[in-house]
């Protein structure tokens, strides 16, 4: 198990490096610079700014300098919010986004698997159909439609929850964004879970258990273990979806998270800020995929053995 873990971690490091490299050079291909504004700055000032931020050096040297500061855990100064470093901006924004994402993920997993399992185990024909129907709703109603509808229903009409804002993470302010983020994922997880559990319930080993007259709880435990892998492997994608969804949710609900830095940073050519968001997001996705791989290996021994070098 430890070897497996190590091999996965070692595979993730070069991936992260290549992503950093790709992002760095792709960004510089784009026309325009961080100091373009409505009113053109004095060329002397731009020249000085570029010198201070070392943007006048050759690109390769800039990349090397960036890697060096990165090795010291320094993401560099923001080129747009010039009073802050990227690290300082993230110190405020990252916990907000992480709270939002983690809660949405947790709810998606719990509610999704519960719903899916209930659908697969219901004896009537109606149960599975309900789950499929609900799953369809998750696809038909994207995050950017659910969010304003929630604002309208709970904020503007019923007046029971705030329409937006973060308010230092008060629970009332968290309910709508977290639910909005979780809903589409609940739908997908539920459908996967239902399909997978239905298959495993029909498997020979489960049938054998049933033939031996084992109690229902016992049978379900066995079936669940075999049913989880497809669901777990989806969770990596779910994390990426929640990350992108949170860009929209943070915009609509006016939450001071990472999402706005993504869009504003790219539009304002704030190179260091975009690099920072890319690194954080890519690291989060890679980390989550690593966790997913570990859970899969724990659930399914075959994954462990295949990974072992022959």
């Amino acid at each position: 198990m430890f070897r497996f873990f190590l091999s996965r971690v070692l595979a993730a490091v070069p991936t992260l490096f290549i992503i950093i490299m790709l992002a760095f050079f792709l960004m510089r291909l784009a026309p325009g610079g961080p100091f373009d504004s409505e009113r053109a700055l004095d060329p002397e000032i731009v020249k000085n700014l570029r010198r201070i931020y070392r943007l006048d050096r050759p690109l390769i040297e800039q990349f090397w300098l960036y890697l060096q500061s990165l090795a010291h855990g320094d993401l560099g100064p923001s080129l747009h919010w010039r009073d802050f470093s990227v690290g300082e901006l993230f110190a405020v924004a990252l916990p907000v986004s992480a709270t939002l994402g983690a809660k949405a993920m947790l709810i998606a997993i719990l509610a999704g698997t519960a719903l899916g399992a209930a659908g697969a185990m219901s004896n009537s024909a109606l149960g599975p159909r309900l789950v499929d129907g609900a799953a369809l709703f998750g696809i038909v109603l994207p995050v950017f439609v659910i969010a304003p509808l929630f604002q309208l229903a709970f904020g503007l009409t019923l007046h029971i929850l705030p329409v937006g804002g973060w308010n230092d993470g008060a629970w009332q302010n968290q309910i709508l964004p977290v639910t909005t983020l979780a809903l589409p994922q609940i739908a997908i997880v539920a459908r996967l879970m239902q399909a997978s559990l239905k298959d495993t319930l029909a498997m020979p080993h489960v049938r054998t258990l049933r033939a031996f007259g084992m109690p229902r709880s016992h049978i379900v435990t066995h079936a669940l273990r075999a049913a989880f892998p497809p669901v777990v492997s989806y969770l990596g994608l779910a994390a990426a979806n929640i990350l992108t969804g949170s860009v929209v949710v943070e915009t609509i609900f006016g939450i001071p998270g990472m999402g706005r830095y993504f869009v504003y940073g790219a539009l304002g050519r704030d190179y260091t800020l975009v690099m920072g968001t890319v690194i954080v997001v890519a690291a989060a996705v890679l980390l989550f995929n690593l966790i997913v791989d570990l859970i899969l290996a724990w659930l399914d021994p075959r994954v462990r053995f295949e990974a072992r070098p022959r």
Binding site: L26, V140, P148, L156, V248, F262, V263, L267
Partner: protein, 354 residues
């Protein structure tokens, strides 16, 4: 495949209904704007944020308001408006004689047609005027700039569907070529090529789109190239898997023995034999691409005004949610119906395959 292509999945009632919905939306988006009576970028200043309605405008209230505005502009008193079918009879009273050219004010508003003096008394200080009323229907209401939402929704549909199809085509081309080459080449090439896919996969796709939009500018054509360039990964994986198994087949060995070149084998044997899974994945891909385009446009990075797409309209609706729900509901309904129908169709196709 022998004989004509049969589509038994159409026996599925839901799938048939979905196909009908998609066909209806496509036809409506293509031809609806021709008959809606409005241009998608025409601004009606007198009809801002009008609610959706089946009945023609102007209503009595709107007529009165427009008359009052014109009276102020012309410095006249307007008395005794009397409606008669499509025309309105009004009497203008003023201290100075009415200048007939000032009656253009009527025509300039969105509510009235040309005005005509029928009777002039007191040296033009009291004038009876006939004014035509412009009858206009705003089925879905109007937006904050006073543009017809029905027409805009359909034009947006054209854009969203076009982007969906073209971006899917881009993704299809890249993905199939990449996957087939990787799978057929095998070995080190395959490992390297798939490693690249894995790396791009770990890049958050929205970042890629943003960077590509930055590079290309907000150009309509290049948006779907950018989206297609992001969505080819899954296609490449699927085709590669197919290619790996197809190249083991005897007919490929036979073609190789006869000296067929690698491109010829790819084109004649590998790709056609992977057509089934490719088509099945395409039905998943198209709604995903439409959704992605809406997402990018929602963030203001996609299609630019006055052109529009469902994502742009939904963003607009989200901003005006207080007071004008119709701006959100109608575009969301169209987007949702399209996504849902495509999804059901895709599911039916998948069920068909297995």
């Amino acid at each position: 495949m022998k004989g004509p292509v049969r589509l038994p999945f159409l026996a599925h009632r839901l799938a048939r209904a979905s196909l009908a919905v998609i066909g209806f939306i496509i036809l409506l988006c293509l031809f609806g704007p021709l008959f809606s009576g409005h241009s998608y970028d025409k601004i009606y200043r007198d009809y801002v944020l009008v609610r959706p309605s089946l009945f023609a405008h102007p209503t009595a209230d709107e007529t009165r308001e427009a008359l009052e505005a014109i009276a102020r502009r012309m410095h006249v008193q307007i008395a005794a408006p009397r409606e008669d079918g499509e025309a309105l009879h009004v009497t203008l009273e003023t201290a100075k004689p009415v200048n007939p050219r000032a009656l253009r004010a009527f025509e300039r508003s969105d509510v009235f047609g040309p005005a005509r003096i029928v009777n002039s008394e007191n040296e033009g200080r009291r004038v009876d005027v006939d004014v035509a009323l412009k009858q206009q229907v705003f089925l879905f209401g109007t937006d904050a700039n006073g543009r017809d939402l029905f027409t805009r929704t359909l034009i947006a549909g054209r854009v969203s569907l076009a982007v969906g199809l073209l971006a899917s085509f881009v993704a299809l081309t890249i993905g199939v070529a990449y996957g087939a080459i990787a799978g057929y080449a095998g070995g080190r090439t395959d490992a390297l090529m798939m490693r690249v896919v894995e790396i791009v996969y770990a890049l958050p796709f929205i970042f890629l789109v943003i960077v590509l939009v930055m590079i290309f500018g907000r150009n309509f054509v290049l948006i779907f190239v950018a989206i297609g360039a992001v969505e080819w990964l899954d296609m490449a994986r699927i085709v590669r898997g197919q290619a790996l198994s197809i190249k083991q087949m005897e007919f490929v060995a036979a073609a190789e023995a006869m000296g067929a070149s690698a491109p010829a084998i790819l084109w004649r044997h590998i790709i056609p034999n992977a057509a089934g899974p490719i088509a099945a994945y395409l039905t998943v891909l198209i709604p995903r691409v439409i959704l992605l385009e809406s997402f990018v446009s929602f963030l203001g990075l996609g299609v630019q005004e006055p052109l529009t797409s469902w994502g742009v309209l939904i963003a607009d609706g989200a901003r005006n949610i207080q007071g004008s729900v119709h701006l959100l509901i109608f575009p969301a309904l169209y987007l949702g119906a399209t996504l849902g129908a495509l999804q059901i169709l895709g599911n039916a196709l998948h069920a068909e395959k297995t």
